[in-house]
Amino acid sequence: MSNEQYDVIVIGGGHAGTEAALAAARMGVSTLLLTQNVETLGQMSCNPAIGGIGKGHLVKEIDAMGGLMAHAADLAGIHFRILNSRKGPAVRATRAQADRQLYKRAVRAAIENQPNLRVFQQAADDLIVEQGQVVGVVTQMGLAFRARAVVLTVGTFLGGRIHIGLNNYQGGRAGDPPSNALAARLRELALKVDRLKTGTPPRIDKRSVDFSRMQEQPGDEPVPVFSFMGDAAEHPPQTLCHITRTNERTHDHIRAGMDRSPMYTGVIEGVGPRYCPSIEDKIVRFADKDSHQIFVEPEGLDSNELYPNGISTSLPYDVQVNVVRSIEGFENAHITRPGYAIEYDFFDPRDLKPSLESQHLPGLFFAGQINGTTGYEEAAAQGMLAGINAARRAGDQESWSPGRELAYLGVLVDDLRTQGTNEPYRMFTSRAEHRLLLREDNADLRLTPIARELGLIDDLRWARFERKREAIEREKQRLSDHWLRPGDLSEARQTQLFGGPLIREQRLAELLRRPEVDYASLTGLPGCGPGVEDAQVAQQVEIDAKYAGYIDRQRDEIDRHRRQQEASIPDDFDYATVRGLSTEVREKLQRTRPATVGQASRVPGVTPAAVSLLLVHLKRQGAGAGSLRHQA
């Protein structure tokens, strides 16, 4: 029996596990990454894409804190787009199709070259628990590794059961074994476990597809870049995606196979995501729609597999063949892997602290799909946070967690902790009440300084960041110091630029606030330039001006709510002492143990009146306002 000692052990080498291990190691603590299979580090087990609405925001935040995902996407992205580019900057999001192999290679290279980080291939079967604290891991072959903190990121492997038609078998991601020993052990530890469901579509051999019958979907030009440190020159060659559609014949085949659907015959109990329904779900729930879009995404430059995004299914294989071949362009398609649904365990995230440490098992952190989320980006973001806090625990430092007003990561963790979830949780921008502040473009301005303090940012990135930040400040100052006088321009030019003559002299900063004025044309005016060269700097200056009124208002709102939000509730607070709380609300709060009144107010079933009671009670106790919890 080995007795190797680490500061942090991360179990699982998916997107959560790799970011957790990298973050901890970057902070200088000795870290061990335990994975079932080194070959699958950074594996994209579902669709080969990174980013999208809300998700792209998370990727930029991970990047702003020194994480890997954006950089790996830049190295592996073969088709980039900015979604919502015709809407405002707050809801614009980057999305990349990734070459699976290139992505895995980028992740593995980062892991293998990270100082303080070791990798060991071996399934974890058990946790070492001493005096109620998790202090290590026992592997399949009985090796024991001890650590100050353990991060659990075992995703779809946990108690997984795969369904294709009415057949089902135990399994993790298709082809890999599930982590059942660990699942059984965790159930013994009295952690609350529930079940969710997700699925994937059948994969198709590119060589059997007629692309001439599909609509082409090119990437954006110029090609977007994910990382703040990135460059389009890092991208591999770019490729095309395609769009095709289902039709009435497709739907007939699906309806005909419904009696052998595990979802519609009650074999699957887990709840699937509403926003990512299987094709059979779409046909049933939107019966009046005679066609659905399918995005045909390449799996990689060297791969002949295609991922038909939009026809996730768990219908029997023979039905899948008929469904696929009824679709335009897929008439002769060969399925390389059948689609399937997978049911898996997740741990109720309401049992977590904001640091992602278990409330019941100190020393054990949870990140990724086991917390009920879906998506690589959600997993990676949690992994990074869990890695940071595991490292801080190892160093006897206080935990850190961003608030809802600081990051999508804060929204994610707060939602999970206070609301739990009954479907795989996915990020959307509408979950963020401070959406106008939480943009992709300012993720670095929001988070890099904090990450630097946490020890995650190297000198190179920091120097680049500081240059950018200073350039933004300088340019803002310049625009508010310089005035444009009505006499500076001909009246015709004024009308052309501003929709009418200027009535009085105005600061350039004020003029930039007008919807019709853009930065480039403003700084191109005589006496108003030159503007800054750096596009990122120009963009920040312009967005700040355009959103100014809204941003001020959101900041006011944040300040107004802050006192209530941050009024802290002591860890040992006894809800039974609050007069008038209903039994139901009391039990919910006892269970969730919100750290602040703000969190308490977001626990489902907690009424505004209950929040008032809590506030009044805390006020009477003299707690709350006096002991503000510092949330970033």
């Binding site: 609405i53 809300g54 979604l83 919502n84 809407k87 405002g88 707050a90 809801v91 926003y275 879009q293 995005f295 959307f428 921008t429 509408s430 009440e433 959406r435 106008l436 919807p515 809204y550 208002r553 107004r560 709510h561 006192r563 209530q564 009024a567 007069r579 008038g580 209903s582 009424t607 505004p608 009146a609 209950a610 929040v611 008032s612 009671l613 506030l615 009044v616 006020k619 009477r620």
Partner: protein, 449 residues
């Protein structure tokens, strides 16, 4: 600690009517029933008994009702004693309750407890407070409407409609690859329009409610011989004595209150509005001007036989531009020519005689119309200024949302305005309530430290 507290209060207005009700709430309600009634009445059943004090002397006889927790108005054990009223008897009952450690309630404390025990939402709790101090019958009716949650229902319905609208807008943002762009859809504009209309209707009703509760602030000005006091007396009617809210010292603003068809009117006398060298009077002048700033209308009383005096002209030049003015030509009974027509314009002119009462009805109608008052009491809510403020803010955000939708097509800003509109509405029913808001509410319910 408040948990053990039991409170009692006389629930009927002082000195009036044949019935006097004392209400007791808290854990000692049962003990009070045993001591005073001699028995704990069955839950929610009226029993007739004699009421005794501690020494066993009979105080009164009447109905006793018991509502055990949590099925009572406050959520606590509640005992209600309905006796014969009269200040002396009620005092004796309260004294008897005091002997067993039941203390008199602070104003609004019953509502406070009801609110804290989840029995009322904020709008309802405030409606109770309105009911308690409602000055007129119409206001009481409006307060009752709000208590029944009609106002809350309407606001809740609007919030629901807004949530539905937001659903579409948010979907357009979060699912740009879906095939329907909801923002381009005219359905969004139609829905937005529907909510705006609902909001405006509610606003109209709520404004009525505010008028009923808070009344209209009316400044009466005019030279000493113009007939201001006879006008006041005439307006107030002979029965209802003029109530002087604040007993006047020279330094205080003189305020009097009259009522026209249920509309409370606070009359601000401007005796001290003209310039003076006296220090004390100067302070009075300053305060008067502050009142003028807040007024809903200025009534300038003049002698119908004379042209406008220079002093009146100076006054009109000094008042805030937003303050509507009615020129009131008094003493038409002494006029030796035809009475000119009334002018119903921005600056209204009316011709009356306070002494004979001629054409006073026109003045009353004019004042009611000027603030949009319709004395029906039906469908009006007892809205506090806070409610009105929230409704106005919601309206402004909806208008901004429309502008963003039509002009700049900026989806995320439409979404932001709608979110803010919803937050504003939610302030009324208590959802999304901020600490600030609670602070204001609880300050009017006297919550202890």
């Amino acid at each position: 600690m408040n948990d053990a507290d039991t409170i009692a209060a006389v629930a009927t207005p002082p000195g009036r009517g044949g019935v006097g009700i004392v209400r007791i709430s808290g854990p000692k309600a049962v003990e009070a029933a045993r001591r005073i009634v001699g028995v704990v009445p069955p839950a929610r059943t009226a029993i007739y008994r004699r009421f005794h004090d501690r020494a066993g002397h009979e105080i009164d006889d009447g109905i006793a009702l018991y509502f055990p927790s949590p099925n009572s108005f406050t959520g606590e054990d509640v005992l209600e004693l309905q006796g014969h009223g009269g200040p002396v008897v009620l005092d004796m009952l309260m004294a008897a309750l005091g002997e067993i450690g039941i203390r008199p309630a602070r104003p609004g404390e019953f509502s406070e407890r009801a609110f804290l025990n989840d029995k009322l939402d904020l709008a309802q709790a405030e409606a109770v407070a309105d009911l308690i101090d409602s000055a007129s019958e119409a206001a009481a009716r409006a307060a009752l409407n709000s208590l029944h949650g009609e106002f809350s229902h309407r606001v809740t319905a609007m919030v629901d409609a807004l949530i539905e609208l937001r659903m579409y807008v948010e979907a357009a943002i979060d699912f740009p690859e879906e095939e329907v762009d909801f923002l381009a859809d005219s359905g969004i504009a139609t829905r937005l329009h529907d909510i705006e209309q609902k909001l405006q209707q509610t606003l109209a009703s709520a404004r009525q409610g505010t008028l009923l509760r808070d009344g209209m602030n009316l400044v009466i000005a005019g030279r000493p011989n113009a007939g201001k006091s006879s006008l006041l007396n005439a307006l107030a009617g002979t029965d209802a004595a003029i109530v002087t809210d604040v007993p006047g010292t020279t330094r205080d603003v003189l305020r009097e209150r009259i009522e026209i068809d249920g509309l409370p009117i606070h009359v601000i006398d401007t005796a001290g509005i003209r310039d003076s060298d006296d220090v004390v009077e100067q302070e009075g002048i300053r305060r008067t001007w502050r009142e003028v700033e807040r007024a809903d209308r200025l009534l300038l009383v003049m002698d119908a036989r004379e042209p406008m005096h220079v002093e009146d002209q100076q006054l009109l030049a000094r008042i805030p531009p937003r303050l509507p003015v009615t020129l009131l030509h008094n003493k038409i009974d002494l006029l030796e020519r035809d009475i000119p027509d009334d002018v119903d314009a921005e600056r209204a002119e009316l011709w009356i005689s306070a002494r004979t009462g001629a054409r006073l009805d026109r003045l009353r109608e004019h004042l009611k119309n000027a603030v949009g008052y319709q004395p029906t009491g039906q469908g009006t809510f007892s809205a506090r200024r806070r409610h009105l403020d929230a409704l106005f803010r919601a309206e402004r955000h909806l208008l901004d949302a429309r502008e963003r939708l039509e002009k700049s097509r900026a989806g995320e800003l439409v979404a932001e305005e709608l979110r803010l509109a919803q937050n504003a509405l939610a302030e009324i029913t208590g959802a999304f309530s901020s600490d600030d808001l609670l602070g204001r509410i609880f300050s009017s319910f006297c919550i202890g430290k």
